[in-house]
Amino acid sequence: MNLQILLSIAEPGLNHFLIVSALLFSLGVMAVLSKRNVIMVLMGVELILNSANINLIAFSRFTALSLEGQMMGLFVVILAAAEAAVALAIVLNIYNRFNTINLDKISTMKG
């Protein structure tokens, strides 16, 4: 049984990737939800995106699909870069406006 697990690590299969991806997604969500700093939240978002990338590539590798998964992964990376640029610009504006990037302090939309 243990050997099997070890063997499966040596020869990783789809499940291993999905587990890593799930862990990464959870860590990302954790960061997004719990970090006070906007930068940290953005980094969490990056983690979530990358977990999605792992999923895409893993499914592409272990199923009958050709390179669509990898392509999609590449797109995601590019989009993530663009998104990071836009998001950081927003963060700069927020900082200009509120003099802080602590999300708990930024609650003008409170009902």
Binding site: L33, S34, L103, K110, G111
Partner: protein, 678 residues
């Protein structure tokens, strides 16, 4: 020919009225010549009609008319009818009216409403001619009211004077009381015969039809129509308006309140005479007698020249009504005609005296002396010879002295009443008639002596009195001539051979035989048998009255003051007109006031009480509904609002404004969806 001519006579004064009321002030001399001229034309036409009609068509009746309105099965016909009665009345009305127009030129000179005065005279003449010419009761009633309104307008000519406007109101209102009865009478006849025309009504009665099938209703209808005459002809108990009507200009008194309008009542009774039952006629005779007596007793103590003449008029009208009531139809109508001439003359004579007095007082700037009080006159004979002579003739005529017209008619009336009493024993009627004849002679000579004879009340003023101008004395002379016997009969002591008597024969009664008055031949026989007696008696009594007046006021053998003292309450009663005005004021005016007070009390206490009681109830109800509104309806609305607000408050907590919290919601939402779908 007759109908066209009479229509012309009728409409000419109306045309005059319209022109004068619209353009009177712009016409030269304010249009007095126009009114007078028009009336003059109608007078000439009427005279021509009279001569032609009496001489060559004496028994014919001309009539013409048209259907005015059709309502269901009823047709209303307007039309005119010309018989001998009509043509005689036409001449009376137009003659007096023309002379009054003429007289007024001087009398009303410089009046503020000169042209309007002439316009109203025209309106009056038109209405009066309408009454005379009409062939049915409906049209007569219309003209009857028109006469009433023109009388109202003329009495109130000087309406700035309170007494004049009051008198005008009184005349109109008192007349309306009588007219009310007349209208009911007309409607009784219309309800049963469906026609207003005299011809139709008499025809139906002659055929044996009766109103509602009973002679009682016929009597009632007759008496009710007579009520109209009671009002217009100032009979007891509605005689009170006529003396007050003397507030109008004196020529108006001569025209309306002596000669024509007040004669309309007599004319009406003469017109409907055929349908009057014996009972109705008896009542009419008694009303006439009572009126004659009351008015004569009042006239003997009055001091206002016009008041004496007014009461004398009432008394003479009572005579005419009494004559018609006893069946002396021709005598009654003849007295109307002769009286119209001499009473119009008396009034115009009085007008002449008042005019002279007024002018004199005006010259002396005396505004306190009453120009109409005979105690301020005296000795005017020497200064106003024409007025005096004519006044004397009129006075002789009204006293019933032979050779005058008044003698002819009065003598026939007295004979008629005497004959009536021999037929059915109402002795009181001739007794009253003879007593009134004596009283008339007495008070008329008292008036004549106090005005024209004796010493003037004011010597210096007397010097300045002048005879009135010719336009005023001319009508007096014409009327004085007409007060002589030969215009009515060439026999100075008997009217029955004259043209008048021949032309105007008493119409045959059309009522059922059991309620008919004594037939004419029987009546005539009775009259013939007492005629000489009546004539002698009437002359003796008139001369006695004159003698007493002369002794009292001219020779001063009898002291009027002592006589008044001796008469006691009779004197004060007469002086105060038997307290009729006071009585009416207490009973009717006071009664109406009392009823008004009771109604006011009822209004204030009961009606207002009910209204006031409903107010608290309404207030209570509204308070209740207000509470419901406020608490329940508003409560529901507020509760909804409050609920929404609460919910909003609760839900707004979700909107924390923290992005991460939202993300948590999104995440859990996704998870829930995932669980739900997978």
């Amino acid at each position: 020919m007759f109908t066209q001519a009479s229509l012309f006579i009728l409409l000419l004064p109306l045309l005059g009225f319209l022109i004068l009321i619209l353009f009177g002030k712009r016409l030269p001399r304010q249009g007095d010549w126009l009114g007078t001229g028009f009336l003059g034309i109608t007078l000439l036409l009427s005279l021509w009609l009279l001569i032609v009609k009496i001489s060559s068509h004496s028994t014919e009746v001309f009539s013409s008319g048209f259907t005015w309105a059709l309502i269901g099965d009823y047709s209303f016909t307007l039309g005119i009818m010309i018989d001998n009665l009509t043509v005689v009345m036409l001449v009376v009305v137009t003659l007096v009216s023309t002379l009054v127009h003429l007289f007024s030129i001087a009398y009303m000179k410089d009046d503020v409403r000169y042209s309007r005065y002439y316009a109203y005279l025209g309106l009056f003449s038109f209405s009066m001619l309408g009454i005379v010419l009409t062939s049915n009761l409906l049209l007569m009633y219309i003209f009857w009211e028109l006469v009433g309104i023109s009388s109202y307008l003329l009495i109130g000519h000087w309406y700035e004077k309170k007494s004049a406007s009051d008198a005008a109101n009184k005349a109109f209102i008192v007349n309306r009381i009588g007219d009310f009865g007349m209208f009911i009478g007309i409607m009784i006849l219309f309800a049963s015969f469906a026609t207003f025309s005299f011809e139709g009504i008499f025809g139906a009665l002659e055929a044996g039809e009766l109103p509602f099938g009973s002679t009682g209703w016929l009597t009632a209808a007759g008496i009710l129509i007579f009520c109209g005459a009671v009002g217009k002809s100032a009979q007891f108990p509605l005689h009170v308006w006529l003396p007050d009507a003397m507030e109008g200009p004196t020529p108006v008194s001569a025209l309306i309140h002596a000669a024509t309008m007040v004669a309309a009542g007599v004319y009406l009774v003469a017109r409907v005479f055929p349908m009057l039952t014996a009972d109705a006629l008896l009542l009419i005779a008694y009303i006439g007698a009572i009126t004659a007596l009351i008015a004569a007793t009042i006239a003997i103590t009055q001091n206002d020249i016009k008041k004496v003449l007014a009461y004398s008029t009432v008394s003479q009208l009572g005579y005419m009504i009494m004559a018609l009531g006893v069946g002396a139809w021709t005598a009654g109508f003849m007295h109307l005609v002769t009286h119209a001439a001499f009473k119009a003359g008396l009034f115009l004579g009085a007008g002449s005296v008042i005019y002279a007095m007024h002018t004199m007082l005006h010259k002396r700037h005396d505004h306190t002396t009453d120009a109409q009080d005979i105690r301020n006159m005296g000795g005017l004979r020497s200064k106003m010879p024409y007025t005096y002579v004519t006044f004397l003739i009129f006075t002789l005529a009204i006293s019933g002295i032979p050779l005058t017209s008044g003698f002819l008619s009065k003598d026939e009336i007295l004979a008629g009443t005497l004959a009536f009493s021999t037929l059915n024993g109402h002795w009181i009627l001739p007794m009253i008639a003879f007593l009134v004849a004596g009283l008339t002679a007495f008070y008329m000579f008292r008036l004549l002596i106090l005005t024209f004879h004796g010493k003037p009340a004011d010597e210096t003023g007397h010097q300045q009195i002048e005879e009135s101008p010719f336009v005023m004395t001319l009508p007096l002379m014409i009327l004085a001539a007409l007060s002589l016997f030969f215009f009515y009969s060439f026999n100075p002591i008997g009217a029955s051979s004259g043209w008048f008597w021949q032309a105007l024969e008493r119409p045959l009664s059309v009522v059922p035989e059991i309620v008919q008055p004594a037939a004419y031949p029987i009546f005539y026989q009775a009259v013939s048998s007492v005629h000489t007696l009546a004539m002698v008696l009437s002359v003796v009594i008139a001369l006695t009255g004159i003698a007493i007046a002369v002794l009292m006021y001219h020779r001063k053998k009898l002291d009027p003051a002592a006589a008044a003292q001796k008469a006691g309450f009779l004197y004060t009663g007469s002086l105060n007109k038997w307290y009729f005005d006071e009585f009416y004021s207490k009973v009717f005016v006071g009664g109406v006031m009392a009823i008004t007070r009771i109604l006011r009390w009822f209004d204030e206490k009961v009606v207002d009480g009910i209204v006031n009681a409903t107010a608290p109830i309404a207030r209570g109800i509204s308070r209740g509904s207000g509470w419901v509104d406020h608490n329940i309806v508003d409560g529901l609305v507020n509760a909804t609002a409050a609920g929404a607000s609460q919910a909003g408050g609760l839900l707004s907590r979700i909107q924390s404004g923290k992005v991460q919290t939202y993300l948590v919601y999104i995440l859990f939402g996704m998870l829930l969806l995932g669980i739900f779908f997978i």
